[in-house]
């Protein structure tokens, strides 16, 4: 069975500070991986997707970047956080059906 793990569970960060969120999937070879962002009470906005190691496609520009250093790992990061980055970050895997991790709650103060 496939398992997807996100870290950290939650973060409280200051405006202008850097951020790195991680996602690891086990039990699936060469998965398609995605990053989604959800504002409180909002919809799910796709940020990035990757179909293979080293290749990441950006869907929307939010002053964030993503990387896929390993087949089972997807990283979301920024050098300078904005207040608007607050929200719920979700990593997912799949092709048409997406399966989400437990998410990371980010508060930028």
């Amino acid at each position: 069975a496939q398992t997807i793990h996100q870290w950290p569970v939650a973060e409280i960060k200051a405006v202008g500070s850097p951020l790195s969120l991680g996602c690891t999937i086990k039990g699936k070879s060469s998965p398609n991986l995605y990053w989604y962002w959800q504002a409180t009470g909002g919809t799910l906005q796709q940020l990035f997707y990757s179909i293979t190691v080293g290749q990441v496609e950006s869907v929307v520009q939010l002053n964030l970047s993503a990387s896929r250093p390993k087949d089972d790992q997807f990283i979301l990061s920024t050098e300078k956080l904005l207040l608007s980055h607050s929200g719920f970050y979700l990593c997912a895997w799949g092709t048409d059906t997406l399966y989400f991790g437990a998410g990371t709650r980010l508060s930028v103060l």
Binding site: G42, Y49, E57, L98
Partner: protein, 112 residues
């Protein structure tokens, strides 16, 4: 431009009633329509999904009705239970990797 629209934004029903959640889309290339539910402070989970080859998909108390001509679908929850209280997202995807567009969700509250 919102490609997937959901209505109502929120819905309240009593236990045992049927809840009807609506969804419409604009892009004719969409060929896969999953519904996700999300409980407070949890991540979304797949509930039920349909492809345009069918106009109905049933799974227990949950049924999707699909109208390809009108580009509309609806999720019917029969015999609603308090445990069904959640936000329901309609999504649409095409056979292109990475394309799954979500609606803004319907918040369902079921009172006992």
């Amino acid at each position: 431009q919102q490609q997937v629209r959901q209505s109502p934004q929120s819905l309240t029903v009593w236990e045992g009633e049927t809840a009807i959640l609506n969804c419409s889309y604009e892009d004719s290339t969409f060929d896969y329509f999953p519904w996700y539910w999300q409980f407070p402070r949890e991540s979304p989970a797949l509930l039920i999904a349909i492809r345009p080859v069918s106009n109905k998909k049933e799974d227990g108390r949950f049924t999707i009705f699909f109208n390809k001509r009108e580009k509309k679908l609806s999720l019917h929850i029969t015999d609603s239970q308090p445990g069904d209280s959640a936000t329901y997202f309609c999504a649409a995807g095409a056979q292109v990797v990475g394309q799954l567009t979500f609606g803004r969700g319907t918040r369902l509250q079921v009172y006992a």
